[in-house]
């Protein structure tokens, strides 16, 4: 017999597919470079926020070191390209693997900490990564690395390089976001998803039911970090230049979870909705009001974050009918 859950999950998959098709067509009638860039960044952040959501939302660990995994992915794929001539489509997975490995390395000591101790320890780990990269000349130090256009190859999907046309990067970002979404969808229906939510809601009760807390957190971290690393690699190829201030800086660790938190943390659609609202708003205010360096864009952006967080703590996705559970221990979600 078909349960309502399997029916709902099939609907979700259907909606996801329709959305994917719509997003694939979206930039076609738009030829303006600025708007296309805006769409690409929005899609990329939808994927990154979804990747964070796997650890921060489903498993409830407020990680503030995702810039590190993003940066590791960007640096690994770029260094493999510039130092070893390995195409970024391969380097991307190496970057993802190392991003996941890094998340495990960070998780090993940090998951022993709880609540704010955990959040702050992750901030510090991320900052150490930034400072070390800044002083590590072999990877370009503070000057960063220019990603060359390999002339002998020309425009190529294998090398993820396109001289003029930015549309292929849209499809790369979209594929990344779709994979992140699909992973979240699979997790929601799997045993892991239930275990992680139990770890988030009430670790003590979960342990009494023989849930192994630490391995659960590590698994969530590895998947989340690996996806974030792949996102970093795609971003590096897209912008063509990386330095610690663009892929490892501390504030990025808050900007990555922001769409997920404001959209609806621990939900399938939250990161998407959050990115769709937040990224265009922040980019548009920056380009129309931030040009003179007068700070108006920051005031609007900061005010917006406050208003959304207070008015819709369950996330913007709830406005379009996404159900958000208020778990019994909702108050202590951060302390878990």
């Amino acid at each position: 017999m078909e349960t309502s859950i399997t029916r709902r999950r099939r609907y979700e998959l259907l909606i996801g597919g329709v959305l994917l098709a719509a997003l694939a067509l979206l930039p076609l009638p738009i030829h303006d470079v600025y708007t296309r860039n805006l769409i690409i960044i929005t899609v990329l952040f939808a994927g990154l926020a979804q990747a964070w959501n796997i650890l921060g939302g489903y498993c409830g660990q407020i990680s503030l070191s995702h810039a590190l995994y993003f940066g590791v992915g960007a640096y690994v794929s770029t260094l493999l390209l510039t130092r070893a001539g390995i195409p970024p489509t391969v380097g991307m997975f190496a970057g993802g693997a190392l991003g996941g490995l890094m998340a495990l390395l960070v998780g090993w000591p940090c998951f022993r900490l709880s609540g704010h101790y955990y959040a702050i320890a992750t901030v510090v780990v991320g900052e150490i990564g930034y400072l070390l990269a800044l002083n590590f000349d072999w990877i370009g130090g503070a000057t960063g690395i220019n990603i060359p256009y390999v002339r002998s190859v020309g425009d190529s999907w294998l090398w993820l390089q396109f001289r003029i046309d930015k549309l292929p990067y849209h499809y790369a970002a979209l594929a990344f976001a779709a994979v992140a979404w699909l992973v979240a969808w699979l997790i929601e229906g799997s045993r892991w998803g239930f275990v992680w939510r139990a770890v988030k809601d009430d670790p003590v009760a979960a342990r009494s039911l023989a849930v192994r807390i630490f391995p659960s957190k590590m698994a969530a971290a590895a998947i989340s970090g690996a996806l974030t690393g792949i996102g970093g690699a795609i971003y590096a190829q897209y912008v063509g230049y990386i330095d610690p201030d663009s892929v490892l800086y501390g504030q990025l660790s808050i900007l990555i979870p922001l769409p997920a938190v404001l959209g609806g943390v621990g939900t399938l659609w939250g990161p998407l909705v959050g990115a769709a609202v937040l990224i265009p708003l922040s980019e548009l205010t920056r380009s129309y009001l931030g040009g003179s360096g007068r700070g108006v864009d920051l005031m609007i952006y900061g005010g917006l974050i406050i208003v959304v967080a207070l008015a819709r703590p369950q996330g913007l996705a709830s406005l379009i009918g996404v159900r958000v559970r208020a778990p019994a221990g909702a108050d202590d979600a951060a302390a878990a």
Partner: protein, 291 residues
């Protein structure tokens, strides 16, 4: 490196550590009371520094005279932030932990933007005051007067915080910290205590900001670095522990100065962070944390 130079470095580090400790004390106080980490803490420091700089620029008043007014202004600001934002963030039904992080983060962005809008993005510093460009010779160890004064004022502020904790109000604070639901039964207005706690936390940062402004440049982003060090200080000392913040602040100031002079200046923060992570491995709740 001679012993005198080493002493010189150590004294400088310890004095800076006192400032770190005072900034962290405000954060720790707020956290201990209501489990809220204020991600706009560095921006409160930045506002206090700008207030000091602007009044000095407009009137020429010595920064030392501004200690009380700026602390009072920051107290009012902290009180208002609690009433307008934090009280609401604490009463949401969903994701309370994340909502408070992102509300204070949003506030930080907003305040940075407001500072840039009002004061521009360039570096500003106070060029003349009773303290600037003076040093004191302590048996061969030369200590810049602004740093020395800042350290002493921080110690005094710590003394004041300790004194307050001995009063009736301080006991109400302690009771609210212990059990924030039960205090309502013995006639303590929890909301009022929280608001006053925010006021005191902000005032502590205000005092640190005035003293820091006598020898440190001001920009809209100056708070970020100090805030990061403050989070580390609080986590190292133990959330909610005033004494822990003091010891951790001193330790961090010392480690920072020693890393900068013995190893490599640009890695001074790595030294701090390494010590912090090493301590957390053995004491997950910090040196003096009980929460």
């Amino acid at each position: 490196m001679t012993l005198t130079v080493l002493l010189q470095v150590a004294v400088g580090g310890l004095l800076m550590g006192l400032i770190y400790a005072l900034v962290a004390a405000g954060l720790s106080l707020i956290f201990g009371l209501m489990d809220v980490v204020n991600f706009a803490h560095g921006e409160l420091l930045m506002l206090a520094m700008y207030a000091t700089f602007m009044v000095w620029l407009a009137t020429g008043l010595d920064p030392l005279l501004l200690l009380v007014p700026v602390a009072a202004a920051l107290f009012a600001l902290g009180f208002a932030i609690y009433r307008l934002l934090i009280a609401r963030a604490l009463s949401v039904r969903f994701n309370r932990g994340m909502v408070q992080i992102f509300v204070t983060f949003g506030l930080a962005i907003l305040l940075r933007g407001a500072a840039q809008f009002s004061f521009g993005g360039d570096f500003k510093s106070i060029s003349t005051s009773l303290l600037t460009n003076r040093t004191i010779d302590l048996g061969g160890v030369f200590v810049p007067l602004p740093q020395l004064a800042a350290g002493m004022v921080s110690l005094l502020a710590f003394g004041a915080l300790l004194a307050i904790s001995r009063t009736e109000f301080g006991r109400a604070l302690e009771a609210t910290r212990e059990d924030r639901d039960a205090v309502a039964l013995i006639g303590i207005d929890r909301d009022r205590i929280f608001a006053l706690g925010w006021g005191m936390g902000a005032a502590a940062v205000g005092i640190a900001g005035v003293m820091l402004a006598t020898f440190y440049y001001v920009t809209p982003n100056v708070g970020a670095n100090f805030a990061l060090i403050a989070y580390v200080t609080v986590a190292l000392g133990g959330f909610g522990s005033l004494f822990g913040a003091l010891i951790a602040g001193l330790l961090i100031g010392l480690v920072e100065a020693l890393t900068a002079s013995l190893i490599e200046p640009s890695l001074k923060q790595v030294g701090i962070f390494a010590i912090y992570l090493a301590v957390l491995m053995f004491r997950p709740r910090g040196l003096f944390g009980t929460l």
